[in-house]
């Protein structure tokens, strides 16, 4: 289990905001935690997977997509803020994220 520091949290936020600004051709300063990924940014579900790949490489995570899929079914992500929180959980718990359900 990785310990999430303030620095990690800020780094994740920065990566997520920059990713959506770039991919959705949006002004980064207009993206907030409440921004809806599909309705406001015209984003898509694949972006979530691409971000996970980015974080997997960056933090050398032991996480399988099917594990995230099972978790995401019960915890759907709609906003940037929700997505950041889920990424933090993934970084913190990796494949053990499903144990949070128990």
């Amino acid at each position: 289990m990785a310990k999430i520091t303030e620095s990690t949290r800020n780094e994740v936020r920065e990566i997520v905001f920059a990713f959506f600004a770039e991919e959705c051709e949006a002004d980064k300063s207009h993206i907030t935690d409440n921004t809806n990924i599909i309705k406001d940014l015209d984003g898509d579900s694949l972006m979530f997977l691409e971000l996970i790949e980015i974080f997997k490489k960056k933090y050398n995570l032991d996480i399988e997509l099917k594990t995230i899929g099972k978790y995401a079914v019960k915890h759907p992500v709609e906003t940037i803020g929700q997505l950041i929180e889920m990424q933090m959980l993934i970084i913190e718990h990796e494949n053990r994220i499903l144990e949070l359900e128990k």
Binding site: E25, D42, D44, L46, L49
Partner: protein, 407 residues
């Protein structure tokens, strides 16, 4: 109530331009879009020329296709979406005012363009780029349309089939609006070497612009082109109701299969003739009404010979009075997009009372003695015209266009 189907919009991406005005001007001036291949190093190929869409198209398309979506499309899929957006814009359609469940998309798709020349494909985008339904899907997504949405593949007749099926869908009352057409590009080493192995392509590489020379004695195969053509089909009643500008009537179509050979057309153009006959009957027009034929005219030995024979078989002595031309002499063979692009050229010929030429017609084949509109465009008022498309596998299509009163 009229069961007429009309065309209220069209869009083009081609080697001679990616807007209608430039495209038409270049055609009328008899320009060639054929050049040395720039998309890849073709120095080891027997054929080293093609009619490529200008590289500036990429910059133009960035204004019309969102970056993220563009990354999930091949270059040719972007051409298709751009042509569709041009067509919708010209039509003046506002889909928010339409019953979207009655708006369909049908595209002729032979190749997705996901070849070795396609750049910047990420693992996540590989599937999207290779989906043969991606072109109609992206168009439907763009406007959030809810009607039928699919691709048809009948080789070089694909987009003509798409238009014919769309027309029938409207005639049958199953749609108000159909976005129909197609896009294609096979300018890649795999396809060029494959077609070279079949002796189907011209190897007259120098000068490139003289290589496509349909109906001449020295023709030696077709020249590959690429591009997209899309039309907006709608019922006349629907178009009038929304006060749309009607560019032409799509009067009918003929579709048939030759059941003969995977590559060669049926001997003496029998299958081609049967298709033209079917189209005229379907459109309810007499042979004497036909004022122009936009030929399939590939610049191959067999097609041009048999298409000429087919026209004579259908029209008899009347064949000699009908001007014919091959757009492929200028824009090459755009394969799955050919039916739609050449259908649009036929429409513009009717609308503008101008017939585009068959360029490079400098050495007539003595056996092919019809009027091929040699080398220069011609002013002629015509009321009805046909466009032929014939594909490998014996897929034949003829579309019939009629001038719309008041245009």
């Amino acid at each position: 109530m009229s069961d007429k189907v009309v065309i209220s919009g069209m869009g083009i991406v081609s080697s001679l331009g990616y807007d209608l005005e430039t495209f038409w001007k270049n055609l009328v001036e008899g320009k060639s879009g054929v050049k040395k291949i720039s998309l890849f190093d073709a120095s080891s190929c027997a054929t080293r020329i093609a009619a490529e869409v200008p590289q500036e198209f990429e910059e133009y398309s960035r204004c019309l296709v969102r970056k993220r979506a563009a990354g999930q499309m091949t270059r040719v899929t972007r051409m298709c979406l751009v042509a569709a957006k041009q067509a919708v814009t010209l039509s003046g359609l506002d889909f928010e005012k339409e019953d979207k469940s009655r708006c369909a998309v049908i595209m002729g798709v032979v190749n997705t363009g996901n070849s070795s020349v396609e750049k910047d494909t990420s693992p996540q985008n590989t599937v999207f780029k290779s989906m043969t339904n991606s072109m109609p899907a992206w168009i439907s997504l763009e406007y959030q349309l809810l009607g039928p949405n699919f691709a048809v593949n009948t080789a070089c007749a694909s987009s003509a089939y798409a238009i014919a099926i769309g027309m029938q869908m409207i005639r049958d009352g199953n749609a108000d609006i159909v976005i129909a057409g197609g896009a294609d590009s096979i300018i890649n080493p795999e396809e060029i070497n494959g077609f070279n192995a079949l002796y189907a392509l011209s190897v007259a590489n120098d000068p490139p612009e003289a290589a496509s020379r349909p109906f001449t004695a020295t023709r030696d195969g077709f020249v590959i082109g690429e591009g997209a053509g899309v039309v907006i089909l709608e019922s006349e009643e629907h178009a009038i109701k929304r006060n749309a500008q009607i560019h032409c009537e799509l009067a009918g179509y003929g579709l048939s299969s030759e059941g003969y050979n995977i590559m060669a057309p049926m001997k003496d153009g029998e299958g081609m003739a049967a298709t033209i006959e079917k189209a005229l009957k379907n459109a309810g027009v007499s042979k004497s009404e036909i004022g122009y034929i936009n030929a399939h005219g590939t610049s191959t030995e067999l097609n041009d010979r048999y298409e000429t024979m087919a026209i004579k078989r259908v029209f008899g002595e009347g064949a000699y009075r009908i001007p014919i031309s091959s757009s492929k002499s200028m824009i090459g063979h755009t394969i799955g997009a050919a039916g739609a692009i050449e259908g649009i050229i036929t429409l513009l010929s009717l609308k503008n009372n101008t017939l585009t030429p068959t360029i490079n017609y400098t050495d007539p084949d003595p056996d092919l003695d019809l009027d091929y509109t040699p080398n220069v465009s011609r002013h002629k008022e015509i009321g009805v015209a046909i466009s032929n498309s014939f594909g490998f596998g014996g897929h034949n299509a003829t579309l019939v266009f009629r001038k719309y009163p008041g245009i």
